[in-house]
């Protein structure tokens, strides 16, 4: 594993932080391009993006409390610890939920009608794909469970091979980025549907890949991450069924 990616004048640049920043910057650049393509005015892009970023960072940190246990409370609930570079941001699942809530509140506050959040969907997938390379290089969470598959990788301190789950995540998100780019102009993927479809796809994937990760089991043989995925899928199913019902009613009317 390569926790230190390179050195600049003797100062180590760590893989995790490096790919996190690069992923965020690539995601931001793609968001700007996509927002311009959609003629999204900057008076709306700036506050919604800022709120999504801040909401995402707070959500990611707060989710640690649920995902990793109450013993993390003193650090997780402390506002000043949010700006401590010695602590990683937290879970992407919490970041997604927090970012969505932040962006939604900002949209309502500026009086935006409809949802332009679809511009976030491909950007988010690409950012996660890049960020996961850092997780792999530092062998975060011990990467995954033991495997005899040919692509299993060694981790320090273990005499067996394990699933490289961050690479599965990166590969899926890269593929998902392509799918979302292809679907971005589809007529059924407008007004927020592309983002919700993107989230649903990631939730399904993450639910499956959790069986190969080392996260603690909360109940029923499932990890806290899997419960978050199920909650997310349930919320999206309710949203899409309401939307479909509304569409059917408008057609019959």
């Amino acid at each position: 594993m390569h926790p230190i990616l390179f050195r600049v004048a003797g100062t180590p640049i760590y893989s995790h932080g490096f790919f996190l920043v690069v992923g965020l910057l690539i995601g931001l650049a793609l968001l700007v391009v996509e927002a311009r393509r959609r003629r999204w005015p900057k008076e709306e892009v700036v506050p919604i993006t800022l709120a999504t970023f801040v909401g995402g960072m707070i959500g990611a940190r707060l989710s640690i409390l649920f995902l990793n246990g109450l013993e993390t409370a003193s650090t997780v609930l402390n506002f000043y610890a949010l700006f401590d570079p010695r602590i990683g941001p937290g879970s992407i699942l919490g970041g997604v939920v927090g970012g969505y809530v932040g962006g939604y509140i900002a949209s309502r506050a500026i009086g935006k009608k409809g949802c332009a959040c679809d511009a976030f969907a491909p950007a988010m997938a690409l950012a996660v794909a890049v960020g996961r390379i850092g997780c792999f290089l530092v062998a975060e969470d011990g990467l995954g469970k033991p495997t005899t598959l040919p692509w299993g990788v060694p981790v320090p301190g273990c005499d067996y091979l394990v699933h490289p789950t961050p690479l599965y995540d990166a590969a899926f998100n890269l593929l998902w980025f392509g799918v979302l780019m292809l679907l971005r102009d589809h007529r059924s993927m407008q007004n927020g549907n592309l983002l919700k479809f993107g989230l649903a796809g990631y939730a399904v994937f993450r639910f499956g890949v959790e069986f190969m990760r080392n996260n603690r089991v909360l109940a029923l043989g499932l990890t806290p991450h899997q419960f978050v995925c199920l909650g997310l899928l349930l919320a999206l199913a309710v949203y899409f069924s309401y939307q479909r019902r509304g569409l059917r009613q408008s057609v019959t009317a």
Partner: protein
Amino acid sequence: MIVCPKCGHENDDQAMNCADCGINLEWALENLAEVAQMRTPVAVPGDAANEKADRKRTQMSPAAKRRDFLIGFFGWFVLNGLVWLLVAVVGQEGDFHDPLNYGEGLVNLCVLPLNVLALIILAFWRRWISLGMLSAVALNLFIALILGLTEYGTCAVPFFAGLAR
């Protein structure tokens, strides 16, 4: 020629998205009710709520917006700095040099919800102050991410395991 139901722009017959507002034309033409909701409401004479919102929007000068933004931006640093001094230096709560011992005092743990609450309330009441605060938080988070390049801080389980190395 396809007339955009959202903004009225005249597009080519082959256009997928409106060249002016960017909306997907096929979807927009099939969902006219939803598109109507997206249009900025036109102030109807006598409609008090619309008139008030319109007045508020047009009355705020660029100078006032800048003033509110700066109040939010620097006010966030001053207020949170004062609370930090009160809690960490005067109250001796926790140890900010030790990330595993930030302190579990009530005042310390109230700062995050109070910040979030203030951001949400101000977003609907004084939008530019809220935007200033939001920018201050985002700037600090960005600085933390940049400084994180030189720190071995991962999100591992336990997420601070890397600190011990």
